[in-house]
Symmetry: C2
Subunit: 201 residues, 2 copies
């Protein structure tokens, strides 16, 4: 069976990756979305295996020591990571898998799986990104300033990606992501072949 | 201004390139389609500059000697070719240009413009292609046999292309071509950049 495609979607914090992914999921029901492992406790309504794999600190550390993560990060004292074997299983079954991760995670995936299709999502302008970050309204001024600075630095990372999409409007961005995935599946270098190989007389 | 994209669409004779291109044209009104030069006389209804550039044999030979063609061929005693300066003008104006040409022409373009996006259109099966070639009903048995043999040989060329699309159904194929063109425009290696480059403080 032909292996599925690994698609890495990343971009600065606040660019709207999550919203676009929900639209993409509706558009491409056959596309799988990676589920992260985390040591943070489940929030009300979150379901094990759908939203996250919820792990104890010990369990996460053991998996980390085993090299079980394709990428991982420590955020606000909680661990998050993508398990290699979950990714491999989806791809081996011939399904395409999208990883929606931050810039640092994407760097780790690129190193381990250079065959991944990498897509950078950019805001229509820095001002738009700043408004989004400020508009969440959940953080104090210092946190906001830190996040804005991080976002500006993260913007530079686009150079390391194969594709850049500008998230001007959610539906248009999701359509563009679908186009990129569909066209990657047509690449001869990725194994696209004519459907028939009859023996010529 | 950012240069337009040159897209080369090719495939075996009879695969349905022309029909798909008409659908693509309706789908992407901003996409330009290359107009060939030819020494064959205009048919009723054909318009200079829209259907072909109609040239005398002398004129064509002079342009050929000057190296003015990106690709050319002699078919049934008539010359056909794509003029370099027509292609350059469209691309320099920032418009994308699609060249719908045969396998031999595509080889010539690839050599001269390796930056072209190359797409091979394959039939859903060799049987389907044979039916299309026979079904035109305009040629005798010997001609048909020759065309079938040529088509089988031409199928092997797909290995030299970046993309392969299977022409199962016209509208779906045109949608896939549009996806490929749109996604190529998002490639960082082709100059895709974030829309803003404000100076960081």
């Amino acid at each position: 069976m032909k292996k599925g495609l690994l698609i890495v979607l990343s971009g600065p914090s606040g660019v709207g990756k999550g919203t676009v992914c929900r639209s993409l999921q509706a558009r491409m029901p056959g596309l799988c979305f990676s589920v992260s492992a985390t040591t943070r406790p489940p929030r009300p309504g979150e379901i094990e295996g759908r939203d996250y794999y919820f792990l104890s600190d010990d369990h996460f550390q053991r998996l980390l020591a085993e090299g079980a993560f394709l990428e991982w990060a420590l955020v606000h004292g909680r661990h998050y990571g993508t398990l290699k074997d979950k990714v491999s299983k989806v791809l081996a079954s011939g399904n395409d898998l999208l990883l929606e991760i931050d810039i640092q995670g994407a760097e780790q995936v690129r190193r381990q799986m250079p065959e991944a299709v990498t897509i950078f999502m950019a805001p229509p302008s820095m001002a738009a990104l700043e408004q989004r970050i400020i508009g969440r309204g959940t953080e104090d001024a210092v946190k906001i300033r830190q996040r804005l600075e991080a976002a500006r630095r993260e913007m530079e990372a686009y150079r390391n990606y194969e594709y850049l999409v500008v998230n001007d409007e959610v539906e248009a961005t999701a359509a563009l992501l679908a186009s990129i995935i569909q066209s990657e599946k047509c690449r001869v270098s990725r194994g696209a072949r004519p459907p028939v190989q009859e023996v010529s007389e």
